[in-house]
Subunit: 219 residues, 2 copies
Amino acid sequence: MTPTVAPPTTTPTTTPTTTPTPSTRDRLVATARDYLDHDGTDGIGLREIARRAGVSHGAPQRHFPTLSALLAAVAAEAFGDLVLAVDRAIAPIPEAAGRERLAAAAFGYQRFALANSGAFGLMFRADLCDIGDPDYMTSGAAAFAQLVAVVREAQSDGFHPEVRAEELAGVMWATTHGIVSLHLHGALAPMTGCADPATVQQLANELFIPSTSNHRETP
Amino acid sequence: MTPTVAPPTTTPTTTPTTTPTPSTRDRLVATARDYLDHDGTDGIGLREIARRAGVSHGAPQRHFPTLSALLAAVAAEAFGDLVLAVDRAIAPIPEAAGRERLAAAAFGYQRFALANSGAFGLMFRADLCDIGDPDYMTSGAAAFAQLVAVVREAQSDGFHPEVRAEELAGVMWATTHGIVSLHLHGALAPMTGCADPATVQQLANELFIPSTSNHRETP
DNA sequence: GCCTGGGGTTGACACTGTCTACCAAGAAGT
DNA sequence: ACTTCTTGGTAGACAGTGTCAACCCCAGGC
């Protein structure tokens, strides 16, 4: 999301760009993100975030009406990072090789989920973050739109051109999402016997996208 | 559940079969399941379950050391129901038609998840139920073993016989699981434009299992 | 008859999210 | 310059939670 031009996170408080002091609100979001990266979603809470951010337990209420709203902001930010990660994953592959770009996007999604498992565990949890938050919804829609675009490129490259791109993207998304979700749950490895979710993704790509080398770049 | 033969749920408390009084422990599990069916996972808690079961808030501690243990028992029961549901879904299809049985199993998984969205939302939540519980682990493994068996049948029917059945089952499981998870999260419909997750599953089946009619029986 | 222990109750403790009153400091208007 | 209003932070309350510990009742074994 808005890669270079400083995303104004919904609060243009007299300092739209280059804010020198991180403005409590941003610090709360960053602290929550840190918490997720270190400790996962398990014990996250408003008071603990406030404590780690060095403010009183009532301070977040001035910026977010509820904990879900704060976490929605964190999830929205994470969705932006996801788009960037997928962008980086497909960037080195020429646009003409649409099928390989699609495979690379799936691996990029996986790598992001594994490297940011805490934030990923939050992004699809309606009980934790307010999924009605406008920022959350637009960020999520942007991520899906990116996937649809990659699918369209793959369709130009001969990947099931007869199917609606949105539905096709839904299947691809669900497959990759299911793989990483089950893996992070700890269910995939003992069941399938292969500890690396990328191996399962590799197989999924070979089944879905048969006529491609599907080279899986090293992480 | 426990349809006919009454599996003794880990507590052979002097009445292994045909217990006339539902024995608080069973009532707690049943009440929790009811809660999930009616109100989802959102506000579930030990005290609320005890309240609805008509016992004091400390009573569950006599049977389950922690809330996670109680919910693990509920999830284990739900995994058993899932196996039964998938069994019912593939039963009317002749065993020779392995690919169609696989497709039917996927639809059966979906229908179970949609009809028992509360319990399904619990089964893969490590923060809610103790996934180290032995009952939980064996029930989950049984569900996956059932899927592997169906995949093996499909392989005998020409469905990618060169691939390891466990890995193949992992891909199929992840795809269906991802579809229903994203749907229950509310993300699939606005993105793909089709409200019915079975439509997405239908497409996934057509992509995975190309040479079959993939008839999707009416729910 | 006594004792023992399973199973239920009640009360406590620490903790949570949210609400409300209070307060400090800067902006704005007169 | 003085007042007023808004913004943002603090501290205390309240209802709720999971878990722990003490107590208590009552059936079964000696």
